[in-house]
Assembly symmetry: C2
DNA sequence: TTGAAAGCGCTAACAA
DNA sequence: TTGTTAGCGCTTTCAA
């Protein structure tokens, strides 16, 4: 491995000068800089980032903790987060907790403030939330995709108005004439997605519909959505619409309905939340309430970096862009009502 | 930040002893160790991993380079890779190159051997491959999911017999009686997926079918598969089966066919390669040739670690588990032939 | 504009 | 069993 001092020797200067060429070029005479650069090129020198991190007290690495990257929602976030991190000169370390608090704790203890300059944590459940709070003194931690803008957590966060997302979904179904509505509520990878369902229920109530007829609480996956939907429809065959608190469940629900001989949206409408890429790729294409995932990721990265640079000045909560209804092919007018 | 020497002072020992407690416990007297552990707990000490990395000359970090994590194939690999890395005491840094050789080069130059102990590179195209070869002297680099076991690259790799995967797909279609077969060949994120198509073509030939009727070359995504399939079927409406070199294309193809009024598999059969999670979640569920993604990821991580520990002794190429046909609902007997 | 020197926090000989 | 010492490769004052 070629070290900085070898470069220095080769260029007949001292290590400090090489370092200056690398960092603040203006401090060194052009001819000298030229000599140094040439030495760097000749020797194929590459700075040791660990040494630099140690000397500087910062590693230019950000960590992103999430429960399970196999959930298609996360890769979209990761992609945008990694791009944003890269653009600002940071690396991104992806930490899967596998929904396991032990692993989450281990990561947080190991890397927060020692290996990563800052940590971004997604979709925390209560246990994870407390873990983060107790790990805050280790270094900056920011919660991304916080679902309750009305009640800021004890940590810096980027919030998204998921209640509003639920409300938009409800409004859409109401406008289509639906009155018998079922809910599939995901576990948000540990933390209940209750902002979404609360927002949905409240909007239904405001629209004069007392309450969704039935609800189920399930894990976030297509398969789970499928299964839950079958159960739900068996119990409540009269439902004409289903709201799912995320797109995976909604997609699973659509498949279940079709499998049971119910046409979507002709017999039953289905709406989700998030607008993952898959939503427009399935058939019928999914009507959903879009969360601007990439924008939220960028905002989260940028605020985490601010937090690292100036811990005090940054207000604790930022609100991401508002959710937006995206009407596709999985929702339609309520047949029962039209004819009844 | 609490440092090791503060702990040492607190426990009235020297830094070396604290270090020994942390690493080789047996070298220190139990009572002393007890005192040290207590000091660690009281002060909330956590080792600085950058300092450790510098002193040890290894960071316990692995980097995984891939083109675009939003492609659903990668998260499944990443999940398994991260688990395997974690189990062996390593962190995993995910590096998206966005299909951009510049970014790939930058990552490779920055982290190989300086920040990451080893680098895993997936699905390389030729440019990336050369980049890796030229970066090999920086530190261990291993190619994962190499598609040509018969021609080992100039780098250590874990190969999968994708030609065999293509052959299995061909055999399946032939056995179902198909003779008019179209191909959709993905770009493998830069590198052509030609092992798959070659294997497929060869097996067709061996089965007495001269060649697939038509083929198209497209980017790996559902949308691209959809579009390409529409074009293909317009040109060659007589096709009774479509082979896609990966599942995303196959899923897009199914949707395109259904959209064009062709029933799957009744009118046209579709088969893919990989068996991503989505394959069993779409309707009709996709027949495909499964690559054991998780197993390949584990093997890749384990060999990368071997390479780091004992660069010389590790043979250059390892072969992953053989592909397996998974029959689901997107393929069926050739109607035209049955009636013809 | 350049150099000398101290130090980031930890590890690992080696000595005691 | 514990302490002493010398780094790891880089940055960063401070002097020259």
């Amino acid at each position: 491995m070629v070290t900085l001092s070898e470069v220095a020797r080769h260029a007949r200067v001292t290590a400090a000068t090489v370092s200056n060429v690398l960092r603040n070029r203006e401090k060194v005479r052009p001819e000298t800089a030229e000599r140094v650069l040439q030495a760097i090129a000749e020797l194929g020198y590459r700075p040791n980032l660990n040494a630099r991190a140690l000397a500087q007290g910062r590693s230019s690495t950000l960590a992103l903790m999430l429960s399970n990257i196999a959930n298609p929602f996360y890769p979209e976030f990761v992609l945008a987060a990694e791009r944003a991190a890269r653009k600002s000169g940071h690396f991104l370390m992806v930490c899967n907790t596998d929904d396991d608090a032990q692993i989450g704790r281990a990561y947080l203890n190991q890397i927060a403030g020692t290996f990563a300059d800052g940590v971004l944590v997604m979709n925390t459940d209560i246990a994870m939330n407390e873990l983060c709070i107790s790990a805050m003194h280790n270094g900056p931690i920011l919660l991304a995709m916080w679902e309750h803008p009305e009640k800021p957590p004890a940590l810096p966060c980027v919030a998204v108005d998921f209640a509003q997302a639920g409300a938009l979904a409800a409004k859409h179904l109401l406008e289509l004439g639906h009155r018998k509505i079922g809910m599939l509520i995901g576990d948000g990878c540990g933390g209940l997605q209750d902002a979404r369902s609360d927002g949905f229920r409240a909007a239904l109530a405001a629209g004069g519909v007392a309450c969704a007829t039935a609800q189920m609480q399930v894990r976030d996956s297509i398969d789970a959505g499928h299964e839950a939907c079958v159960t739900l429809m068996k119990k409540h065959p009269q439902l004409t619409a289903i709201f799912a608190s995320n797109d995976l469940l909604a997609i699973g629900a659509i498949q279940a309905l079709i499998g049971m001989g119910r046409a979507v949206p002709h017999d039953v409408s289905v709406i989700g939340i998030t607008d993952i890429a898959l939503a427009h790729q399935v058939r019928p294409a999914l009507t959903t309430v879009a969360i601007q995932t990439a924008a939220v990721a960028e905002l989260s990265i940028s605020r985490l970096i601010q937090l690292i640079d100036a811990p005090v000045q940054v207000p604790s909560m930022a609100i991401g862009p508002p959710p937006e209804l995206v009407v596709r092919d999985s929702t339609g007018p309520c047949k029962a009502r039209a004819s009844g």
